[in-house]
């Protein structure tokens, strides 16, 4: 059993996309628990991938292929999950702020969050504070991830947080910020809950937030 989990885990880490469906199906056919396959093989693999990316051992292409491989594996397992097991770790809205059309970083974080078991709603680029707050109200995510590449669009992040406060929604959501010109000092200054320097850090923060939410709920 452990061998099969390790094989799936290694296939995700190695980005063996062509093989993952067969490997996961084989594990299911042998009677392995779907939840165990997800947690101990697929998500565990993405933990390693996140760390390898954070340490510069692998790069964006390898990380993306691993995330895609993980997602494909997940699609095989999901129909076999009992209702209660199919819960995500939380819902994250991702967006690049108004005036900014850059999305590479946001897309990377989205893929890594999905790989870590979050439900991601990617709203795209050039999102105004009003639109974002409307979506937060409607979709009730646990986390809002904001991205900006330009120093000129960074202030939009503060506007979004201000608008969340004005609409009485700020306490219901964690706000995570990132992007080339953003840093921890800026994140603290605008009242964000966290700053991720790269996709791996963003996922780690999201996990921490999700853990805090879970503790609150229990």
């Amino acid at each position: 059993m452990v061998d099969h989990l390790n094989t799936i885990r290694d296939a995700v880490i190695g980005g063996k996309h062509a093989e993952i469906k067969g490997l996961v199906q084989q594990a299911l056919d042998l009677g392995l628990d779907p939840g165990t396959i997800i947690n101990d093989a697929l998500i565990a693999a993405m933990d390693v991938v996140g760390k390898d990316f954070g340490s510069g051992k692998i790069f964006v292409p390898e990380m993306l292929v691993a995330a895609m491989t993980m997602k494909t594996g997940l699609e095989v397992v999901k129909p076999r999950l009992a209702g209660g097991e199919n819960r995500s770790r939380g819902t994250v809205i991702m967006a690049t702020v108004k005036g900014d059309l850059h999305d590479i970083g946001k897309n990377l974080v989205s893929m890594m969050l999905e790989g870590a078991g979050f439900q991601v709603i990617d709203l795209g680029v050039d999102l105004s504070a009003d639109k974002l707050v409307d979506q937060v109200r409607a979709l009730k995510p646990d986390i809002l991830g904001l991205s900006a590449l330009l120093t000129t669009t960074m202030p939009e992040m503060q506007k979004v947080i201000g608008e969340l406060k004005a609409q009485g929604l700020r306490d219901r959501i964690k706000v995570l910020v990132g992007g080339a010109p953003v840093d921890q000092v800026f994140a603290a200054k605008i009242g964000a809950d966290g700053y991720g320097a790269n996709a791996a850090e963003a996922v780690e923060l999201a996990r921490r937030f999700a853990g805090a939410n879970a503790s609150k709920e229990s």
Binding site: G15, G56, L64, V65, N107, N198
Partner: protein, 358 residues
């Protein structure tokens, strides 16, 4: 301070020699900043005013873009945008959303059949008119550096970044073919450029790194990108031209390879992730460095803070040559004009050789 342009001053810096002063260097200065300096508007097509700006402001060369793409923002005027617009309208007549032909919003080569659908011939029809026209406008001593040869960015933009990254692992030969098609066009342009005596160098503006390091693995960069740049460098040197490169991001793990492929100048030593003093110490005797005045400082600092930063850079990087002062990227319209002036003036004031800043 003599502000007459003298390309030999810049060339001496590239060759790690001290001359009268540290040269200034930028890949781009927004027309609004140029206009404020001259006291009259500077339009995109007003080449005479642009030459006047670069010359009067103390630069020894004017950078002019001759490529499939302008650096940075893809505009409606970009050659590639016009080509793609024609293609989209041919395939989907009646399309009105400009995003459909904007390389920064849409990609065009997803699978192998798309390679043959893409209008390569039209894309290869590069407009050299600006480069020709500038010849008779240049004051004595001033040269042109052609911004050309972008290969990496254009390839991933044509494929879409996610698709490019995935295919690089899953279908590497397909990506290699796109690289080759793009590089072939850029190489053809180089040969025309080398026929112009007033063009003294080729500046490849191609972001290959994020703030945390290379966008793809160093091995993949070497195989698919640097192999082409090595050829650019070789052709430049065979034609007695200098080979310059711009890339944002942390290039630390790539610096040895960049130097090995024959690069003469690297710009802008991204100040958000690279320390000029350390870069100078580690690689400064093998490659000329340009830039490093943070754009965030240009946007938000005071002129005296800018002057202090320029003095630090001159102290750390200018002795022995191999350095030109400039921004940490380019000078955009959102830089404070007084800060641009402070950067330039501080270099002219404190940048006389020998550098006397402690």
């Amino acid at each position: 301070m003599d502000l007459k342009p003298d390309f030999n001053r810049f060339l001496a810096a590239v060759r790690h020699q001290e001359t009268d002063r540290v040269p200034l260097g930028e890949i781009l200065i927004d027309y609004s900043i140029q206009g404020k300096f001259l006291g009259r508007p500077v339009a995109v097509d007003d080449l005479a005013a642009q030459v006047e700006f670069w010359s009067r402001a103390g630069y020894d060369f004017i950078p002019i873009t001759v490529s499939m793409m302008s650096p940075g923002k893809v505009t409606e005027e970009s050659k590639i945008t016009r080509v793609l617009k024609e293609m989209v309208l041919r395939e989907k007549p009646g399309t009105t959303d400009p995003k459909a032909w904007n390389l920064e919003m849409t990609s065009f080569i997803h699978e192998r059949p798309d390679l043959d659908k893409f209008p390569w011939e039209a894309a290869a029809d590069i407009d050299f008119s600006k480069l020709h026209a500038v010849k008779d406008l240049l004051p004595e001593g001033m040269k042109v550096i052609a911004i050309s040869g972008k290969i990496f960015t254009l390839t991933w933009m044509l494929m879409g970044f996610n698709n490019f990254a995935l295919k690089l692992v899953l279908d590497e030969s397909f990506v290699a073919e796109v690289f080759e098609r793009v590089a072939t066009i850029q190489f053809k342009a180089l040969e025309t450029i080398f026929g112009m005596d007033h063009v003294a160098g080729v500046w490849v503006v191609d972001d290959i790194a994020f703030g945390t390091g290379p966008m793809i693995s160093p091995a993949a960069l070497k195989k698919h990108v640097f192999s082409w740049y090595q050829k650019v460098g070789d052709r430049c040197h065979e034609n007695n031209r200098i080979f310059l490169m711009h890339s944002d991001g942390d290039l630390s793990v790539l610096m040895d390879d960049l130097i090995a492929m024959g690069l003469d100048v690297i710009q802008p030593i991204d100040p958000s992730c690279m320390d000029m003093a350390k870069v100078k110490k580690q690689w400064g005797d093998r490659i000329c460095l340009i830039g490093n005045v943070s754009n965030e400082l240009l946007r938000s600092a005071s002129p005296s803070q800018i002057e202090a930063r320029v003095k630090e850079l001159l102290r750390d990087a200018a002795p022995g040559g191999g350095f030109a002062l400039g921004s940490g990227n380019s000078v955009p319209n959102w830089a404070k004009y007084e800060n641009y002036l402070a950067m330039r003036e501080a270099c002219l004031k404190h940048g006389s050789y020998p550098i006397a800043i402690k």
